[in-house]
């Protein structure tokens, strides 16, 4: 039994190290709240969300848009400046609280984790190509393939 446990643990370590070595922090920039835009796929019919609804969606507590379409949430890494600024300024929560909320959903059968995206360029591609998706980027990355969700 102990050998099996040891072997499983070593495998876990290996996977973690491999995953780690492929992990690159997102491009760090100094981004203020005003420069961050919430974006959605163009098929989403909602164009405005208040902070509480935005929070419910990004905390993964609400699984559909108000019109019933499934929401697909995309986020940047926890240590990305744009993520921290988005969490603090747009959601008014700290990144560690958001992470804890996701962990509690994922490991209690009450929800799913958001999709992780490494860079803002990938974020833009993912939002443009996924129906019902929502994410956020620095305004300078914005283009016409996605729509902006404004504050209510």
């Amino acid at each position: 039994m102990r050998h099996l446990v040891t072997r499983i643990m070593l495998s876990f370590c290996l996977i973690t190290v491999l995953y780690w070595s492929g992990h690159q922090p997102a491009a760090a920039q100094d981004t203020g709240a005003e420069d961050i835009v919430v974006i959605a796929n163009r098929d989403v019919s909602i164009t405005q969300l208040d902070r509480d609804s935005l929070r419910a969606i990004f905390a993964m507590r609400q699984r559909t848009w108000p019109d019933g379409q499934a929401v697909h949430v995309f986020v940047l890494p926890n240590d990305a400046d744009v993520h921290a600024a988005f969490a603090k300024e747009r959601l008014a929560v700290f990144p560690h609280q958001l992470q804890l909320a996701w962990d509690r959903m994922v490991f209690s059968g009450t929800g799913q984790a958001p999709h992780r995206i490494r860079t803002q360029q990938e974020m833009l591609e993912a939002i443009a190509s996924t129906a019902g998706s929502i994410g956020y980027i620095a305004r300078e990355y914005l283009d016409e393939r996605v729509q902006v969700i404004t504050r209510e």
Binding site: S45, D52, A56, Q62, P66, F94, T110, A131
Partner: protein, 402 residues
């Protein structure tokens, strides 16, 4: 939301849709099939425990310490339709003599969100659902969601954990988004899990009979203010189990357990202050071998956690347990010849440190200075008279998740 009809974004979206139709092709969207929503996650923790007196999760006091605390979990979830979530987790937990690591279904639910509006969500879970009990119960076996290696034992006993874990039945939840606040109510009815740990705790482990869970209810009201800066919760449950005795001794009987937990937390950017207070009514009735028994236990803790240097956190906590409020120091219990007084209480001062060098890897260490053996696992310490009242414990743990 009326304003949205005329917003530029919507007009733009409409125009792009019109353009796409003119071009004769649907918008280039990835087909989001059901399989795309499949997620698999897991965790693994291994601890090393050393005590100077008494055993906690294995032979921790024999000088070599104990490696007998391993938590391994694997879960999968999928969204077959917009408002359905199907999720299940298998847990293997090895914890000294009390838990042998046999994999078991931790939860398995179909979650249906029937109402989803801007300011409210209403849903229901069917199957084996995790009990919303205090702040930590639903993910109590996942190290990454715990502030310390051991949760405060006065409320989250590992000694009789099966009762609180999960229930087989149905639960409804209602979430209302208020002005800068969130109100979440959950109520469930189902069959609790009653394992051998309950018999051990009550002292019926030497008899051939066993408990069978009866219908139980659990409810929680939780309010989160300002994105979780302040969180308050009130949880209660009414858990019932029937004892089936094949022989005359101790005879058939009933166990009723009704806890109330009041929880409060303040979260700042770099620190959190958490406190929970619980009253626990335990009743044993109908047994032939002893008179009906009823007592009220009291538990509380206060905990301060501080984050520093991005991926470090330290914590300090004072945790207190009294099995019977009418016999706080256990003297009546001892006088009645049932066991040592110190088995009726426990005061635990804990300091701990966590380091998360990577989001999926965590190292933790902590020290407990304990007065009392109220939550000492009975399975690891068969004779309560051999236990020492004052004891110290060190724990170290490595945890992984994906």
């Amino acid at each position: 939301m009326n304003a949205s009809k005329s917003s530029p974004g919507n007009r733009l979206a409409g125009r792009s849709l019109a353009l796409a139709c003119l071009a004769g092709t649907p918008p280039a969207l990835a087909d989001s099939t059901m399989l795309d929503t499949l997620q698999v996650h897991g965790f693994l923790s291994q601890a090393y425990i050393v005590t100077d007196e008494n055993n906690f999760f294995g032979t921790s006091s024999d000088g070599n310490g104990s490696w007998d605390f391993t938590e391994l979990g694997l879960n999968a979830s999928i969204r077959p339709t917009e408002n359905l979530l199907v999720a299940a987790q298998v847990l293997s937990r090895r914890a000294g003599e009390g838990d042998d690591g046999d994999p078991r279904l931790d939860y398995g639910v179909v979650d249906w969100q029937m109402v989803n509006q801007q300011d409210r969500t209403i849903g229901a879970q069917f199957g084996r659902f995790k009990n919303p009990f205090g702040f930590y119960n639903q993910t109590r076996d996942v190290a990454f969601t715990r502030p310390s290696i051991l949760l405060p034992q006065s409320i989250y006993f590992d000694r009789t954990r099966s009762l609180a874990l999960a229930a087989d039945g149905a639960s409804v939840y209602y979430e209302e988004r208020l002005d800068n606040g969130l109100l979440r109510t959950q109520f469930g009815v189902g069959r609790a899990q009653v394992d051998d740990d309950v018999e051990y705790a009550i002292g019926l482990d030497s008899f051939p009979g066993g408990f069978e869970a009866d219908t139980s209810a659990i409810g929680q009201i939780r309010y989160e203010h300002d994105g979780g800066r302040m969180v308050f919760a009130l949880s209660t449950a009414s858990v019932h189990a029937d004892y089936d005795s094949p022989g005359q001794v101790p005879g058939d009987g009933e166990l009723a357990f009704q806890p109330w937990i009041l929880s409060a937390q303040y979260n700042a950017e770099y620190w959190s202050l958490t406190a929970e207070y619980a009253l626990r009514d335990v009743e044993l009735r109908g047994f032939d071998a002893f008179a009906d028994e009823q007592n009220r236990g009291e538990s509380w803790y206060v905990q301060y956690t501080r984050r520093f240097l991005d991926d470090w956190q330290w914590m300090v906590r004072y945790d207190s347990l009294v099995n019977d409020r009418d016999d706080r120091d256990g003297s009546k219990y001892e006088a009645s010849g049932r066991g040592p007084a110190h088995s009726q209480f426990a005061d635990d001062l804990t300091v701990g440190l966590q380091w998360q060098p990577h989001p999926n890897l965590m190292f933790a260490g902590e020290y407990h200075h304990v007065d009392g053996t109220g939550w000492l696992p009975a399975e690891d310490n068969p004779d309560p008279d051999d236990a020492s009242r004052r004891w110290d414990m060190w724990l170290f743990q490595m945890s992984l998740r994906f």
